[in-house]
Amino acid sequence: MTAAFEQTGTPAVSTAELTAMYRQMSVIRETERAAHNLFLAGLVKGTTHLAAGHEAVAVGASSALRDDDYVFATYRGHHHAIARGAGPAECLAELMSKATGVCGAKGGSMHLTRADRGMLGSYAIVGAHLPMAAGAAWSAKLRGTGQVAVAFFGDGATNIGAFHEALNLAAVWKLPVLFICENNLYMEYTPISQVTAVPYPAADRAAGYGLPSERIDGNDVVAVKFAVAAAAARARSGQGPTVIEAATYRHFGHSRTDPAKYRPEEEVRQWLARDPLLVAAARLEAAGVPAAVIDGWYQAAKQEVSEAVAEAKAAPEPDPATALTDVWADGSSAWRT
């Protein structure tokens, strides 16, 4: 009861497509670097959870989804927001408490959302969004739209009750939902292996819900794309949910300025060598794209993000009056007469 489909060795992704994915990953990487620097410079307050290193999961998945599919992400969700179409400037503006932020500076780094792009939110309470994704899939099924919903979550989220309830409900109701675990080996500072008695915290549990699962290389955008495409196809054809566990690694610490000293140096070295950008670049080179061209794309991303930083910096502060708007659908926050 594991892999319901096989991952092809050299899948057929066109160079154009791979290029687009590489460029989007580059933009995400640069946005995360910018976020980090802005945080260090005191221009981003609160906290950030950077997804540098996880880009292939977001971009590979997104490239396999329809525009009207639903994505639910965690506080570590910048990559998903951008992969679904949020711009770096509006994301960074949100982090910098600017009026032009995607959430008007009311959400912050942990809550990037672009509902109009099917990016239905980033949730800061571990595991809470898994039932929501099941619910969105239920809605799609009832409305007969053929949409799927995708929940992205961390390895640590697999031990919380909501994970269990969501997978079971989704399995029983045969919902068109994908549960995609970004297993980066660590919760905050504690290795997942210390708090889970099975080696693959998401994949090894799928069978307990009667669900198929697949383990994939989360740093290979092509592998991600194919796995997600296959799972989405299954879901759309009424065969229910799939659990995908993508092995990946974060390049920064857990949040803020965490230097991640709890990670063995050798482990870090090995994973950095499998940087998703390097993996994708290698695929492009194998397809005949010269290194200089690839580097040019990266530089373009760098440029794009540096303009976004400038734009976000220049943006206005939010109107203080907005603190009291948008609790209710009528725009107000009145709770009494």
């Binding site: 500076a105 959302t113 809470a128 619910g135 079971n168 708007t325 209710w328 709770w335």
Partner: protein
């Protein structure tokens, strides 16, 4: 003469009316389908609307309410049942942290048009974990509308408003009222959220009540009337929006006020109501504001013990007397 309707049947009737009106209304919960709910408050729904709109769930309160939220974000109007209101604690993250905050924290990008219905309150001998009145839990959370009707017609009228509301509503159905009867709701009956009802006008004292304590307050008012005291009884019907205008106007007329709450005194909704009166109605008062609330203990099982803990008409009469003698 029209037949009277039970509060229990009014719940199912209220939901059914909206399901007929709007195909995006769907129900989910434990044993709500063919079994028609443990309190029979979904009677007839499965038969009329079928498996596609009335969904039995596993015992997974988080999944029930979390899925309702996801569905509400994407075009449905789910009505989720949490069997006993005590079990809201099992999905409190959704009620407190997710559902009421997502609209605000996305800067208004989404709405969450859902209803969480639940059987609330004591009086049936179900013990400490199945008898609580927890509307005050919900009151601690900005972003939720809170409804707690006391009559069958209000159940129907407020259910219509709750289901049509673009904002999330926690709908407290009182276990102790399920068997009570009242006038049926006329066709198309809608009661706006946030409008208290003066269910008995009076001049000497204002009694503010909610759900199960409304009949208690009315019984107390009867006893007081026999002693020549005219008590005005207000049924709040909702805690959010909270109709303080009606309460303050009443206190302006009577100069004396008493809240009757089933929840414990500590952290009870009466604290919010009384503190508003203490600030905005200070000059209206000729006597201290008083609260008759449950004792600050878990609910005991035995009837004889439970009535020591929760409000009774006798306790309300006693408190009213103190105020009137002031």
């Amino acid at each position: 003469m029209t037949d009277l309707l039970t509060y229990r049947d009014a719940v199912a009737e209220g939901i059914a009316r909206e399901m007929r009106r709007d195909p995006s209304v769907v129900c989910l919960g434990e044993d709500i389908g063919a079994a028609e709910g443990v309190f029979k408050t979904t009677a007839g729904l499965f038969r009329e609307f079928g498996r596609e709109r009335v969904w039995d769930t596993p015992i997974s309160e988080q999944a029930i309410v979390g899925a309702a939220m996801g569905a509400a974000l994407t075009g449905l109007r789910p009505v989720a049942e949490i069997m006993f209101s005590d079990f809201l604690a099992c999905c409190w993250d959704y009620i407190a942290n997710e559902i009421p905050k997502i609209r605000y924290m996305t800067g208004g990008q989404v709405t969450v048009p859902l209803v969480v219905r639940t059987a609330n309150g004591g009086g049936l001998g179900f013990g400490a974990q199945h008898s609580q009145a927890v509307e005050n839990w919900a009151l601690t959370v900005p972003g939720l509308k809170i409804v707690a009707p006391s009559t069958p017609a209000d159940v129907v009228g407020l259910m219509a408003s709750a289901i049509r509301s673009p904002d999330p509503v926690i709908f407290f159905e009182h276990k102790g009222l399920f068997a009570s009867k009242g006038e049926p709701a006329p066709p198309g009956h809608v009661v706006d959220l946030g409008r208290a009802a003066i269910v008995r006008p009076g001049t000497d004292l204002t009694i503010v009540a909610l759900a199960y304590t409304v009949p208690i307050a009315l019984a107390a008012a009867d006893q007081l009337a026999a002693a020549g005291v005219s008590a005005e009884v207000i049924d709040l019907r909702c805690l959010v929006p909270l109709d303080m205008a009606t309460v303050l106007a009443s206190v302006g007329r009577t100069s004396r006020v008493l809240t009757v709450e089933e929840n414990p005194y500590q952290g009870g909704w009466g604290g919010t109501v009384v503190s508003i009166i203490a600030e905005e109605g200070f000059e209206l008062l000729d006597a201290p504001a008083k609260r008759v609330a449950a004792e600050c203990v878990p609910l005991p099982f035995a009837n004889s013990l439970e009535e020591q803990v929760i409000p009774t008409a006798a306790k309300v009469v006693r408190a009213a007397r103190t105020l009137l003698e002031y």
